[in-house]
């Protein structure tokens, strides 16, 4: 099946710094989402971005579908950005099963220090 790899696994930043998180996937996808899991465990949708670029405040994301990767940019990081960031995809070739089965990467754990 499709492989979803995220890097780095862990990231420690000083407040105010910028960062780039990467998601590589091994096959074509119809759906790619970025999530933030906050320290209380809640999964928050950041972007639905199977291709192209989107921005939302200090966060932006770019997916280059032809090269099978996506990047999440966090600018001017804040302590509230801490948590785990997940990339999840729905493979284009999804034989049987759920039409929308998200395959998750293992996440990038971000710690922003004051």
């Amino acid at each position: 099946g499709i492989q979803v790899e995220q890097s780095p696994p862990d990231l420690i930043l000083q407040e105010g710094a910028n960062s780039t998180l990467r998601c590589n996937f091994s096959d074509s996808v119809n759906n790619l989402q970025w999530f933030h899991q906050n320290p209380w465990g809640q999964l928050i949708n950041l972007f639905y971005i199977p291709s192209g670029t989107k921005q939302n405040g200090r966060l932006s994301a770019t997916t280059v579908a032809t090269e099978r990767y996506s990047l999440l940019y966090i600018s001017s990081s804040q302590t509230t950005d801490s948590g785990v960031y997940f990339c999840a995809v729905v493979p284009r070739m999804n034989y049987g099963g759920s039409q929308g089965n998200l395959i998750f990467g293992k996440g990038t754990k971000l710690s922003v220090k004051p």
């Binding site: 119809n30 759906n31 989402q33 999530f35 465990g41 809640q42 999964l43 949708n45 639905y48 199977p50 997940f86 999840a88 729905v90 284009r92 999804n94 099963g97 759920s98 039409q99 929308g100 089965n101 998200l102 998750f104 990467g105 293992k106 996440g107």
Partner: protein, 113 residues
């Protein structure tokens, strides 16, 4: 709107007991999903339902069952819990199809002793 609600928030369960995790969405989404999250393994799909009245197996379905009697509710049942089912369980929903955004509930933390 509430979006997706899950109950209970957390539960400690003796091995061999049964339990039903509840999930309700108010967005009239067609599709609903159950995932489990385990440390080091990320989230994995247990069961799904593309529309009311239909269900299907995900990546890790053994030991779990689901039903979808109506659009809003998608309960997950553990018939005889085992310690390996200790996990955080997330319910999600979407309009359906593989190009739609999935929205997640707050999760249920289950410990099986």
């Amino acid at each position: 709107t509430a979006g997706i609600t899950q109950a209970p928030t957390s539960q400690i369960l003796a091995a061999g007991r049964s339990m039903t995790l509840r999930c309700t969405q108010d967005m009239r989404h067609n599709a609903m999903y159950w995932y489990r999250q385990d440390l080091g393994l990320g989230l994995r799909l247990i069961h799904y339902s593309n529309t009311a009245g239909t269900t299907g197996k995900g990546e890790v379905p053994d030991g779990y069952s689901v039903s979808r009697a109506n659009t809003d509710d998608f309960p997950l049942t553990l018939a005889s819990a085992v310690p390996s089912q200790t996990s955080v369980y997330f319910c999600a929903s979407s309009w359906g199809g593989d190009t739609d955004t999935q929205y997640f509930g707050p999760g249920t933390r289950l410990t099986v002793l």
